[in-house]
Amino acid sequence: MRLSSYRRALQGIAWREILRFLSQRERFFAALVRPLVWLFIFAAGFRATLGVSIIPPYATYITYDEYVVPGLIGMIQLFNGMQSSLSMVYDREMGSMRVLMTTPLPRWYLLLSRLMASVLVSTIQVYTFLIIVYFYHIPIPLVGHIAVLPALLLSGTMFGALGLLLSSSIRQLENFAGIMNFVIFPMFFASSALYPLWKIRETSPLLYEICRFNPFSWAVELVRFSLYLQWNPIALGIVLGCTVLFFGMAVVAYDPSFGIQSRRGAPGSN
C-alpha cells in the first residue's frame, strides 16, 4: 500500500466517525449537558463558598467555576474516550470491525486511525463547551483557546487509548457498563479536576497520593496550564508516556475475534 492509501484510510475513518456523530445528535447534547450541569449548578453553588488561592498556572485568586473548567474539559474527553471504546465493542459485536480488520493496512495503524477519529470528535465537543464558557464570562485568555489544542489532542488520545485498552479486554457489550463505573467515576473524582491537590492533601494524604498517580489528574493539569499559556513538562511527559503505554497494550491485547466467538452457537454460526 502506498502512503496515499494510509492517508485515505485515515480520512475515511475520521469522516465516518464524524458522520456517525452528526447522525446521533443526542450524543452531542449529552456530551455537553454533563459538564454544563457541573458548571452552571455545581460550580455556581460552590462559587460563593470556595475560592482558589494563587497556584500555578493562575496569577491571581480565581473563582471556583474558573478552576473547574479544565476538569470539565477532561470529563468531556474521558467520557468520549469511553464512548468510543463502547462503540468499538459494539462494532466488534456487530461485525463492522471485521471490515476494518480485513483492510490491507497494519492493525496498529487501523486502531490508531480509529482512535484519532474519536479524538477529533471529542475536540469538537470541547471547543463547543469552551464557546459556552466564553459567553459565561469565565476569563480564559483567548490565545489559550488555540494554545490548548495540542494538549487536547494528546489528552484525548490518552483517554481514547485507555478506552481501546478496556475494549480489548471486554468480551461482550453487556460487560461494559460495569467497567465504565469502575473507571470513569474513580478517575474523575480522585483527581485535580474538582479540587486542587493541596486541599486534598490537607484532608487525606492517601487520597492525595492516589490523585497524583491518576493519569487523569495530569491530563487535566496539562490542559489547565496550556489554557493559561504555561508550560508543564511533567504533565506533558506523564500524559505522553501513558498514551504510548495504553496504546501499545491495547494493540497487543486487541482481538477482533472476541465478538465473533461470543456469537458462536447462534443460529447459522459455524
Partner: protein, 260 residues
C-alpha cells in the same frame, strides 16, 4: 464487451488460475479442533461453493483466510502470497461479504461504500465512479442515497456485495451471503454472482448450507466436522456419489463423515 469496471471480459483461458490455496490447514479453539488438515484451491473465473452443515468449520476457515486468526498448522496463500508471512498486504486482492451484516445502519448506501473505498485506498473520483457501476450491476443504483436502516434484508445484502466488489478484488469470499433472503432475491443474487465471476474473472469462494445454489459447473467443497469430505466440480462430485442431485450426494457425504 466491458465488465462493471470497464475491463474487457475474461477469456476462458483465464479460468483455472488458483487465486486461493489452502494447504493442510488445521485449527482449534483451545482443545476443540474445528478444522483438520484441510486442503483445496479456488480457481479464478468461477464460483467455488463451500457446503457444510452448521458447525462444520466454514466461518472459522473464512476467519483464517481473512487473517482474523492465524492457522496453527498449514499454509494459506492468496495469489501465491502466504497470508501469515505477508501479513496485512496479502489481503489487498481480497473482497469479503461477511455472514453477519456489517453495514453502518445510520449511513447512506453511498456513504458506506465511500468509507470502504477510502479504506481500500481509492480516490474520491474512483469511489464515485465505481460506486455507481457496482450498484447498477446489482440493481441498486436508485437506492444510493437511502439510509441503510431503511433498506430491506435483500437490498442490504446487495449493498454488501457491491461494497466487496468496489476495489475489484481478485478473490471474493462470501460467507452465506443469501441467508435469510427470500427465494427470488436469493436466485437473483446467485445468478448475478455467476455472471460476475465469468465476466470479471474473479475467484469466488462461497460458503453455504443451501444445496440449490451451486450450478453443475461450479467448484464444490464439502466440509463436515472440520474435514474436507469432497472436492471437485459439482457434476463430478454428484456422479462419484452415484447420486442424481447434489442434495442427495451432499446428504450422503455428510452422513458418512459422522456429522449429525
Amino acid at each position: 464487451m466491458k465488465s462493471i469496471d470497464g475491463r474487457a471480459k475474461v477469456s476462458p483461458a483465464f479460468a483455472g488460475d488458483a487465486a486461493l490455496e489452502v494447504s493442510h490447514v488445521s485449527f482449534a479453539y483451545g482443545a476443540k479442533k474445528v478444522l483438520r488438515d484441510v486442503s483445496f484451491t479456488v480457481p479464478r473465473g468461477r464460483i467455488t461453493f463451500l457446503l457444510g452443515p452448521n458447525g462444520a468449520g466454514k466461518t472459522t476457515l473464512f476467519s483464517l483466510i481473512t487473517r482474523l486468526f492465524d492457522a496453527t498448522e498449514g499454509r494459506i496463500s492468496i495469489l501465491g502470497r502466504d497470508v501469515r508471512n505477508t501479513g496485512h498486504k496479502a489481503l489487498a486482492p481480497l473482497g469479503v461479504v461477511f455472514q453477519q451484516p456489517t453495514l453502518d445502519l445510520d449511513l447512506t448506501v453511498r456513504q458506506n461504500l465511500a468509507y470502504y473505498g477510502a479504506l481500500r485506498g481509492l480516490g474520491r473520483a474512483e469511489i464515485r465512479e465505481r460506486t455507481s457501476r457496482c450498484l447498477a450491476e446489482l440493481d441498486m443504483a436508485e437506492r444510493i442515497d437511502e439510509v441503510v436502516r431503511t433498506l430491506n434484508g435483500g437490498h442490504r445484502r446487495r449493498v454488501e456485495i457491491a461494497r466487496a466488489l468496489l476495489h475489484r478484488p481478485t478473490l471474493l469470499i462470501l460467507d452465506e451471503p443469501t441467508v435469510g433472503l427470500d427465494p427470488d432475491t436469493r436466485q437473483a443474487i446467485v445468478r448475478r454472482m455467476h455472471e460476475l465471476a465469468r465476466m470479471e474473472g474473479a475467484a469466488m469462494l462461497w460458503a453455504s448450507h443451501l444445496v440449490d445454489e451451486p450450478e453443475t459447473n461450479d467448484g464444490l467443497l464439502v466440509l463436515s466436522s472440520g474435514r474436507l469430505v469432497a472436492s471437485g466440480p459439482v457434476g463430478e462430485v454428484v456422479e462419484q456419489e452415484g447420486a442424481v442431485y447434489l442434495a442427495e450426494a451432499y446428504t450422503r457425504l455428510v452422513r458418512r463423515s459422522g456429522s449429525p
